[in-house]
Symmetry: C2
Subunit: 301 residues, 2 copies
């Protein structure tokens, strides 16, 4: 079997870069996206268009998907014109969306009834990691299949780890998102306090960022908060989705995580203030508003 | 003026290493500690002993202090046999304890009435930073005096920043401690979720520690939680002290920081479980207990 034919469903910022890396590595891609327009650059480079996820799957050995929400994953894989309906026996589905562990289990189970293997493989590393092939890929599913897919992992990521059976990749990603949410609360509260205390925020950052308080987010996102740059690296609405998936999992497990619960509440507050499509660093607006501060005005002084 | 004679009050783990660095740099030290025993190694290297902070100050141009709690700072500096009572006109007090900004202001004010200058200069970098002279020093107080003290800062730290007048060093340190507390909640909730989800914790750490979830604490303290090592790098009871100072400041400022309030509650819970003198990573026990888990048993399986 050649394994050269891939299907790719979802050509957003992440998906487009990732699919392109596989095409550059020599794979022939049939692609589908909800809005065809976003797929044009890949079509111009030789990808074939498919009108449905089902059609993208029909001629492919491995069908990747990276879409928005769990409901989108359900539709593009399990829906009436979804990838599973088109996948041939022995094909592999690889969903790279950050989605529900329980949905990953359901997909794997329904796929196996049709002799199709399903792997969940969400990533971290953002748009830059997607472009440069330096993602960290968290994988759940059949061990042999995961090994078999190594050429793909190595084209997309600099690190890939199988965390267990179906859903385990999603669970590892949720552990990651816990920290993404919590670290941001810490940064925003720290900066808000320092601002109220009359300190120069850049000087504070210089003092604290290389020690025990240091984090990727402090080095990369706190400077944006200070200079008033709220452009999205990672959308507030996507982090809310992830935190809500995590809290659903927690309810099922009878697990009470007060920090995550606080994060979910605060990010929903900032979304309600109109920041859904801003970067997660805009969390500062929720904490500022709660305290009668106007952060935009604050950073302009 | 020679500036070669220093007083040093507080020879605990941090203080002993820091004083020793100054002695190695050529300064003559007169030292005081609540329990003389802990000062013995420095006395053996040629430091002079003083029975009181006042006596340590009498023959010194610069008098450093690094003790436990704000009440200890008050006693060793402002008490009847405190350093201020012994300091000569033109001397400088440098308190390096993490303490109350308002107390630093009060000390500076009372010192100036006696023509003594007081500087607050708490540090981060831990015992290793103290030993190697790689601390980050956060400084508040008179600008000219801070410049004048540069030989001391450079012997003790690899980074020193003046954040403003009296109390500003303490306020910058509180911004740091906000992150120390919050990052730890994130780590513990992430690991507890991953454990409940049946994942291999070391594999999860490997997947998430170098990306957007990464932090100093994740790289340095999460592995200790996983292998069951709760020896103190930084005591739970000291972080509680810092968070309570911060919340006192916040109340004065009408500042509501829900994350810090949660951290203060959780660290107090773990202290009540008997972990006051364990490292901050023992926070996992509070979250585990709340969820009916026995973390010691969990990490042994």
């Amino acid at each position: 079997m050649s394994m050269q034919r891939i299907g790719w469903i979802g050509t957003g910022v992440m998906g487009a870069s990732m699919c392109r890396r596989l095409m550059d590595a020599g794979y022939t891609a049939t692609i589908h996206n909800r809005t065809r327009e976003k797929a044009e650059p890949l079509l111009a480079r030789g990808a074939a268009w498919a009108d449905t996820p089902q059609a993208a799957a029909e001629n492919s050995d491995v069908i990747f998907s990276i879409v928005g929400y769990p409901r989108d994953v359900r539709e593009v894989i399990l829906g009436p014109t979804g990838a599973l309906a088109g996948a041939h026996e022995g094909a592999t589905l690889v969903d790279m969306t950050t989605s529900e562990p329980s949905l990953a289990e359901e997909i794997a189970s329904r796929a196996s009834q049709r002799s199709v293997t399903s792997i969940d493989a969400p990533v971290t590393g953002g748009d830059i990691g997607a472009k440069n092939g330096t993602l960290s890929i968290m994988i759940g599913g059949d061990e042999q299949t995961v090994r078999f897919l190594e050429p793909f992992w190595s084209a997309l990521g600099s690190k890939w780890i199988r965390h267990g059976g179906p859903g385990a990749g999603q669970r590892a990603k949720l552990a990651n998102q816990t920290l993404v949410g919590m670290n941001m609360i810490g940064i925003c509260e720290s900066l808000l306090y320092a601002h109220r205390a009359g300190l120069d925020l850049n000087a504070v950052l210089e003092s604290i960022s290389s020690g025990a308080a240091g984090s990727w987010a402090l080095s990369n996102l706190a400077p944006k908060i200070i200079r008033g740059d709220f452009a999205p690296g990672f959308f507030v609405e996507h982090l809310i989705k992830d935190l809500e998936i995590l809290l659903d999992e927690c309810r099922r497990m009878n697990l009470h995580l007060p920090g995550v619960e606080l994060a979910e509440r605060l990010f929903n507050e900032v979304a309600a203030q109109g920041h859904s499509r801003d970067g997660t660093q805009s969390l500062i607006f929720a904490l500022a508003k709660m305290n009668g501060e106007d952060w935009h005005a604050a950073v302009k002084t």
